[in-house]
Symmetry: C2
């Protein structure tokens, strides 16, 4: 397969291969518009440096006029083309991204593997080096710019050897990749290893040590010499056995600020991940609550981070589950720059085999948190070397939508899904309705199958795909359901771990009372008996059974509907293959979970459906 | 560390480095005796070819005389030396091994890893090649001959690339290793990939295809030209996704006989593993019983294997668990040559971190099966590149004892353990008693911790270390405990899977009635309620709790006793480190399993001990 055929699906209309040597996003915009529009319809382009990321579309003298800044002009070009492809009328006026940083974080290792990657190997690493097909990287740039993504963090936050060399002996390879992406307005970011000075002869990585500080300053100088528009560093420190400032008795603020100061002279940003907890918890300990960890560690540090530090917080207090409440940290750091982190790679949400459109999840998060609480939007990438980039063809929606929500966090899930669907498949209206409506329901269906009433972590350990209700129950990861023959769930109110007290008063009151707590979070916050009666009159155990039966039936219904669509053959083959796996998985979730609760509770299904022994 | 210091512990007395170029076991015997005995006490050596593996010790003219065959003379030399080291009186008379084949099966991969290896990397593979320290391989030869082991199968039964090349492009490397071991009477065997003709251009691996047959005949010719005393092949076929004759609609007899005929002209043996079952079982299916698989597949083939085929049967119907009944296949194949397979690598029995001496297990097996039912004794190796060969210093006992039981399956566990202990540590009598008695109790203690009343498979999936009571419960491996809030265990009598009917009448009657079934197999054969009353008046659930509490306390007692022994410092450090892990593991087993059953049953411990929520 040649590079041209790796067109990201929603850019099918852009058939012209991107040439080498495009000098800037402006030049790329010119190329794209020229290739797309007949000469007589070609929009006029006005470059306005001061407009930066934003653009404006006007109609003047019967012609479209696109004004835009350095990157805005390219975003505007794609906006015009999309409108044209969709056959909708051009929306005149200005557009600017709400979040200046829209970061795609790639967990790519230099051996070519991708941690939690479900669509093939790395697009740019192989055999310990930066190695790529330049034509494909240009397609990647087109795809990212088309979605509005402007920062690519190219290596795994778990920095495995030799990824340290990307800012040392292999810096020239880093620079070459950065140059490929520059014409698309995409800036490079790297994950760095906090302990790196140790292996480079400094003898310590203590952030308060002058030699360490000097080492990082010199390193930063060399990086920005090689990559003048380098975006900055991402750091996972003191988390899941990664090195960090705690080893030297220093706070995360001290660790982050040291790095931030080294890169501040160049405008670099330091993204510090707040995904820190005790991954060696004793399951016997019912008072320690992993959900509380990030707040307890970071809340006292509010206001102590430098201005170019961004604390990156996962959307929930755990780890990208199908359903979690929003992280209370997002609501508790008024004097700290925050980034909201989501995960396009469907680690716990179907692994790009099962359909799981994330837009409804993000809508809820932004509505609960408030878009103004964070200043950047970050996503773990779902990209890989597969011909279609994302494994499941529909998984591309999540990448596209990530860009859309980063541009406008008030985005309407239905509108974005419809735009992606129209760009990708150009179906007839009724068919498009079918596709869009099932995509929008997909998360709710997946939740019924895998994560009822706020219960998470019933997945197979390590792989995180498929059911294993007690697979994590007696382990050290802090992820327990505490089910027994009478009850299930963790009491996180003041009679339990009191996690709920980390929320602002209004949310705290909502969550702490089982009568007001949203049903989809009930067992996240409360421990309830199986015979407890829910709002609709069903018992808790019956609700658990019903959800699993319904989840499977709805998956079947979705399969029938989606497989009836006239998709292009190669997409259809992928969808068919994966739909088989998804059905098998939904059946497994139904039966394993129902059997699990039936063995514990002894309660029969009120409707007499089959629950296995 | 130099090779000389890698002396296997029980051969500490043999301090002379083995020279290169020993021409035969006879010459090795001469060297060992010369180096050990003062000239005036040097035994007389009489080589008698016809004695083969056996030897005779006499006293003549006030001198010891050792007569022996090609390998027997070396076994006799070690027997003499051991007697001398132990300070016991020489046992005059003849000795011959009961089993002509005493095979150590090594799951070594050519990348240097060892499947289920717990004592370091491979001793002879590295980077895709046969690579070893010749001096260390000579020490290995000394160790194997000293234990009476005469066949070494050097590569994993799961044949991973490039291990196929050991009988092809890397045959010269195979031959070189065989030459190193020849002076110790150790013959090489290889695991082969049944599908190999496929990758070699034959286009099929169908055993009834003439080209396939010819390919294997030619291959055998070349192997025996390179390694004239080559022992034969070991094959894992149609098992856990390995290729085999089933792919061509052929039986295992047809597959095995084809290979056997290729190697028969050279006296080669074909060891065919009977470890075959459906590893894609649906957990919902309560009638299929993995325990029944081998019997169902192989019993109809009795009498249909060629004379140089040996069907290798694991000791229990599952897979080297702490407690299983003996495999009924061992009692059902009167017209087939059988090998009994055990596993020194402690995959499910402590992984050479926890102490688990296997002698009592083997005593039970031989007593139940009858030594005459099998014609060879095979063990999965516990050796690796660790300085002390076996990780835990006490794990060496299992290797030593394997040789002893292969030589004499009527061996007394206490006598063999004492011999090993005296050779290894030369402790004072009371100390030796302490060591020996705890080693002999170690399996019973481990059983209380991990495998009560015949319940197995409550281990962490994949790693097989540590508790996870339902880790395998909803998977495809056929290993279920079916615990619910009222009862636990699998009914394998005629009201259940009827596995019990595979046994000869006497054993069948013993096992099928819960009143006569040995308690340590009760939940293997029966499904019983937690409130069922046991012979001693305790309820089943109380017995489960008691065993776990006792298992941990006995582990603590064992730790105190063993750590009080005056072991050599390097052994003591290893024992201390591992004892810490074993205690932690025993505590985990106690608490996880008790919590598991308490959550299900709701029954409190009658003695009020702590069971966690």
């Amino acid at each position: 397969m040649n590079a041209a055929s790796y067109s990201p699906a929603w850019l099918r209309a852009l058939t012209a291969p991107l040439p080498e040597g495009l000098a800037s996003p402006l030049e790329t915009a010119r190329f794209e518009l020229n290739a797309f529009y007949p000469a007589d319809q070609m929009p006029e382009i006005c470059f306005r440096e001061e407009m930066g990321d934003s653009y404006r579309i006007e109609r003047a003298d019967g012609r479209l006029r696109l004004s835009g800044g350095k990157t805005g002009v390219l975003y505007g070009a794609y906006a015009l083309i999309f409108t044209s492809v969709c056959g909708t009328s051009v929306r005149l006026g200005s557009s600017a991204p709400y979040y200046p940083l829209r970061v795609l974080s790639c967990w790519d290792n230099m051996d070519g593997s991708v941690e939690r990657g479900y669509s093939g190997n790395s697009l740019w690493f192989e055999g310990g080096h930066v190695r790529y097909d330049p034509a494909r990287i240009r397609q990647l740039g087109r795809m990212l710019a088309g979605a509005g993504i402007n920062v690519l963090c190219v290596n795994n936050v778990n920095v495995h050897y030799p990824a340290q060399e990307l800012i040392a002996s292999q810096l020239n390879e880093t620079a070459a990749l950065a140059a490929e992406l520059r014409p698309f307005g995409v800036r490079l970011m790297l994950s760095v290893d906090f302990s790196m000075p140790l292996s480079q002869g400094v003898g310590t990585a203590d952030p308060l040590d002058e030699n360490v500080q000097r080492w990082w300053r010199e390193r930063a100088k060399r990086i920005w010499e090689a990559v003048p528009d380098f975006a900055g560093f991402m750091v996972k420190a003191d988390s899941e056995h990664r090195p960090g400032p705690n080893a030297y008795g220093r706070t995360h603020a001290e660790g982050a600020n040291m790095l931030a100061r080294a890169i501040a002279p160049y405008g670099g940003k330091l993204i510090w991940r707040a995904f820190v907890y005790d991954c060696m918890q004793d399951w016997r300990d019912t008072l320690t609550d992993r959900a509380k960890a990030a707040f307890e560690i970071y809340k006292p540090l509010d206001g102590r981070f430098d201005d170019n530090v961004i604390l990156q917080v996962k959307h929930g207090p755990f780890d990208f589950q199908v359903r979690e409440p929003v992280s209370p940290l997002l609501l508790s750091m008024p004097r700290t720059h925050l980034a909201l982190e989501v995960q396009l790679a469907q680690e716990y949400t179907g692994q790009q085999k099962d359909i799981y459109a994330m837009l409804p999840l993000w809508r809820e998060i932004f509505d609960t948190v408030g878009k103004d609480k964070v200043e950047a939007f970050t996503a773990v990438s779902n990209l890989g070397r597969d011909a279609n980039w994302t494994g499941h063809p529909f998984a591309a929606l999540n990448l596209f939508a990530f860009g859309a929500f980063g541009w406008d966090p008030d985005s309407d899930p239905e509108r974005v899904t419809r735009l992606w669907a129209r760009l990708t498949y150009g179906l007839k209206p009724a068919e498009e309705d079918t596709l869009v409506s099932w995509l929008l329901r997909s998360r709710s269906i997946y939740e019924k199958c895998t994560s009822n009433l706020g219960l998470g972590w019933m997945v197979t350990p390590n792989t995180h795909y498929g059911p294993n209700p007690w697979g994590y129950e007696f382990q050290s990861w802090g992820t327990y359901n505490r089910a027994d023959r009478n009850a299930v769930g963790v009491d996180r109110t003041k009679t339990g771990t009191n996690y709920v007290s980390q929320y602002p008063e209004e949310l705290k009151r909502l969550y702490e009372d089982p009568r007001s707590c949203p049903e989809n979070l009930l067992l996240f916050f409360h421990r309830l008996r199986y015979d407890c009666v829910m709002a609709d009159g069903r018992t808790l155990i019956q609700r658990l059974y019903d959800d699993h039966f319904d989840g499977f039936m709805e998956t079947e219904e979705m399969a029938r509907a989606l497989l009836s669509l006239p998709l292009p053959q190669e997409d259809m083959e992928q969808v068919e293959d994966r739909m088989r796996l998804q059905l098998e998985n939904a059946r497994e979730w139904r039966d394993v979970t129902n059997t699990f609760f039936h063995r514990l509770s002894g309660v029969e299904d009120a409707r007499g459906r089959k629950i296995y022994e």
